[in-house]
Amino acid sequence: MGLAVEAVAVWKSYGGSTVLSNVGLKVEAGELFAIMGPSGSGKSTLLRILNMLESPDRGTVTFSKSTLAPGDGQELRKRMTMLLQRSVMFRDTVFGNVAYGLRLRAVREQEMRDRAMTALRDVGLEGFEKRKASTLSGGEAQRVAFARAIAIEPEVLFLDEFTANLDPPNIRMLEAALAAYRQRTGCTVIMVSHNPFQAQRLAKRCLFLYQGEVLGGGPMEEVRRLDDERIAAFFRGDLI
């Protein structure tokens, strides 16, 4: 089962500009939650903070019932992972990429093999193991990245516009793989999307960010019907 994630009163600034102002959210264990808003809203920053890659200037992030003590960071980080819009492939074979996270966790040879191969199968790239990752197409790379992520069996999966650059067949493929993984493990998923149609398709609850501020949060339908032209424009697909 995945972890529950809660953020309270998160603030973040870079240089002189405030990127996140007083952002809070609550994600139940095992649910798929969307963070939405137009570009430049601070979604990616929030995601990085939730993923513990960065610390907020103010505010807290907690997982399930545990609060973050300074020493726990590394431990918790290993139970979650993030996928980027343009995934980085390591200078290695496809197998080397997918197995990397397992190697970091000192998984034994045979088990590593099995889990990596299963992950590849889940994204439909069986037989690609020995291919050099640098020769993959964008869609294939994104699928390998997904396999790499689920191979380590994270309890929280952060997705930062992870299908934004893909064509419809690949998008469908990955959304299906995501659904299968969630079914299998009950993992929590927090996804950033500036594609309202995908967000509505996949998530039941969401948070709407606009220029670092929370305009609304909660069940998708409720947020959609909030009386705010910016939100309405977003859901129409007009605001990017």
């Binding site: 290993k78 190697r103 970091l104 966790r105 000192a106 034994r108 040879e109």
Partner: protein
Amino acid sequence: MPARVASTNKTKLLTSAVVFTVIVLVATGLAISGVFSPSESKIVLATTTSTQNSGLLDYILPDFKSKYNVRVDVVAVGSGQALENAKRGDADVVLSHAPSLEAPFMDQGYGVYRRQVMYNQFALVGPSSDPAGVASAWSAASAFRKIADNSSTFLSRSDNSGTYTKELQIWGLAGLDAGQFDPQWYKEVGKGMEDTLRMADGMDGYTLTDEGTYFSLITSLNLVELFRNDTALFNQYSVIPVNPAKNPNVNVRFGMLFAEWIVSPATQELIASYSANGHQLFYPNAEP
């Protein structure tokens, strides 16, 4: 439990290979540097590049090695540095030919004793046309004076070598100050004897050289010997075992053994028999 990256077999193998390689390399280095065999008999002989390049040492040293089974490591630098090395304890015995530098060296107590070994001549060489008329001079000093008066091209080694010391001595005898000379004709090249000779050859200039080096290069030079008849042009070689009082690590026993060997009649004969291009290069003159 925090999981550490397990050393997989591959990583273990790689690490072992690296460690093994480093140990082998360093051990080899230490071994060939004699660190593991401090009792091996060897001495460091500090001498000059011209002495070494004359080939004399390659010729006579095997005799020392076979007689006493002591290895001689020859470090060839300029006279000045050779004596400095000895002062620092970086040499066990010195073979040099710079009496003016050797005297203070002995006075300061760095040498056990100093003994004559051999001499060769310095000679004034130059273009066969001899524009300054040096061949007819009646002394080394007057030969030099003629060159200065004529402003003929003269190459000076201007390093801390015995040859340069000798050159300055002669300018002094002629009552001239080399520091005042016009660089148009007096060229301070700061090089060893071989290079200086070749440069003089190329410029058709005069220079002071030891005969040993000159004869070993004679086939590739157009320069000719123009003046040598003056005892002032004597180039005296001396051997000095280094005094361990200042540097306890100095191998004085073998240093003195070397000195005794090089002045012994047998070795002296050997020195006399050494020639290059048909010319005897060194004249033994050790006092009994």
